[in-house]
């Protein structure tokens, strides 16, 4: 049952009601103002002032940040993070959800296992996978190599592997949960569609491609853009797993912004960089939505 508010006329009795209502929501509004709204305005202001916040410097902070030698490197890496996360992390939950939707055995056990990594805190996941990737014989991957008599090798310290390996650790945490979200929507598909397709002679694969995936399409697009947005801002994972190394091979824009603020103590430049990131991600979102509309036509 939905409660719908009617348009009310102004009455003195109502006025007191309204005041008491505003009093009850006031703490939340204060918190939102302090935590969510004010910092955005403050950030845009800071970016145009020097690091002490006293002198107006125009676009100097932006120029400084963008002309830094590491900016292009970080931008390239961040793009790589996003691309790898789309390669590794976007299709996997779709496939897992489709497969799980077929099962009637061990479903609750499987669901729990898939959900479990989501419960592990991000920082613990990063450190856990840091151990999985340890370069000497002690890491899980090298232990597995050891079982086959192969000698250990470096993982995170390999500049070509470090980004995909970090993405794998993040995918491990998130894909199961996303699968469960997809699964919930798949269970709403009308069985008759599959029956009709079966009568027309379509096999399992054809039915999946022609019925299941089109049903999931809007959700895939939504999760896709959310994933791009969150991976674009990646910071804690490289900070805790590699510190940005080897030789800045895993340095992301988010981590660069963190370094400006908390290692070099150049707050204004840090904010300027995050504003640059903000505009990039907004641009990507707009293009994405536009492309999505075009594709749908």
């Amino acid at each position: 049952m939905k409660y719908t508010a009617k348009k009310r006329k102004f009455l003195p009795g109502r006025f007191m009601q309204d005041v008491s209502a505003w009093v009850l929501i006031a703490p939340a509004l204060c918190a939102l103002m302090l935590i969510c709204w004010r910092p955005i305005f403050l950030g845009f202001k800071m970016a145009f002032f020097d690091n002490d916040g006293l002198k107006y410097v125009g676009l100097d902070n932006f120029k400084l940040v963008v002309s830094d030698v590491l900016f292009i490197k970080a931008l390239k890496n961040t793009t790589l993070y996003v691309v790898w996360s789309l390669i590794i992390g976007m299709g996997l939950p779709v496939v897992v959800a489709i497969l799980m939707n077929e099962l009637i055995h061990a479903t609750s056990l499987i669901k729990s296992s898939l959900y479990l990594p989501q419960i592990v805190p991000v920082i613990a996941v990063s450190l856990l996978w840091y151990f999985v990737y340890l370069p000497d014989g002690s890491g899980l991957l090298n232990s597995i190599l050891g079982l086959f008599g192969l000698s250990p090798r470096v993982w995170l310290q390999d500049a070509r592997l470090t980004i995909p390996l970090i993405i794998i650790s993040m995918t491990w945490r998130g894909f199961g949960f996303t699968s469960i979200l997809y699964l919930a929507s798949l269970q709403g598909i009308n069985r008759e569609l599959y029956e009709a397709a079966a009568i027309d002679g379509a096999g399992f694969l054809r039915r999946t491609v022609k019925i299941t995936i089109p049903h999931m399409y809007p959700m895939i697009m939504l999760f896709g853009i959310n994933q791009i947005k969150s991976v674009f801002n990646i910071m804690v994972e490289p900070l805790s797993m590699t510190g940005g190394g080897p030789d800045n091979a895993s340095l992301s824009l988010g981590l660069q912004s963190y370094r400006y603020a908390f290692q070099y103590f150049r707050m204004s430049e840090s904010v300027a960089l995050s504003i640059v990131m903000w505009f990039i991600i907004m641009g990507v979102t707009v293009i994405y939505i536009y492309a999505d509309k075009k594709l749908e036509q």
């Binding site: 929501i25 950030g43 990594p117 805190p121 232990s143 050891g146 919930a184 069985r191 801002n233 995050s274």
Partner: protein, 300 residues
Amino acid sequence: MHIDWERKKSGALLPVELKNIRGKLIYFTILVIVLIIALICLVPVLWLVITSMKDVKEIYQVPPTLLPKHIDLMKFKRVWDKMSFFKYYKNSFILCAGAILADIAISGLAGYVLSRLRPHGIRAVHTAIFLTMLIPGTVSLVPLFKTFLDMPIIHVSLVDTYIPMWLMACANCFNILIFKSTFDSVSKEFIEAAQIDGCSNFGIFLRIVMPLSLPVIMVIAILDFTGVWGEFLYPYLLLQNKDLYPVAVKIYDLKVSGGGILLDEYMMALFFTIIPPVILFIVFQKQMMNGVSFSGGVKG
């Protein structure tokens, strides 16, 4: 083995097809693949527990041992004491409890006002809260940090307190909207009856709306706990006194500063970090899985 295929209510494979050998083959292939994927979700955690119970020499042994040679349960206690984990657990629990209480009280009230009282001008607030969810929060890291160093109006520094994290828990747009949609479905008759009895708005919230929404409040409390337990960045930046560190920050600090801790002991510490949310998950699985459906509802 007889399997009742008619139980199968969803999916592209139809019960009829599963009665022939081809269908069964496809079905069991899928089952095996999914079981392997589910196992991959568990293996890193299991490996962590097993490895943490080996001693350092055994960890580096080639070829590696599958299980520790001797299982020494007292090791858990030794490592726990050596790193004084009790202190960090206590910190984490205080941090979580405060955040949960703050979130439920303040977001709950906001949800109640949005859902039931709807004073003049509430529409704008509703829209603002919805839009806030869409804006990426990256820009606010540094300004927020500065805010906590020097709070507006009162000019107090909140460094070395848990108040910033509690305040952030209150400003949770997502939970406000979940509370709103939960309270939307509380039956109107109860509320009208209470109004006739002369109950105030706050009284209705406390005595009627909240108790009737207890299952959802529980899910939010659990999700808050797992979220705040793992919160790393802000506590790390805002707590300078290491004695105040919650577990999630301590575990990172141990990696960075080292301090005479062996690999196996460190892995055990990581296990201590993971275990409370995992236990909570095992106990409240059902509630959390239901939580998935409502989080999907708000997002999608």
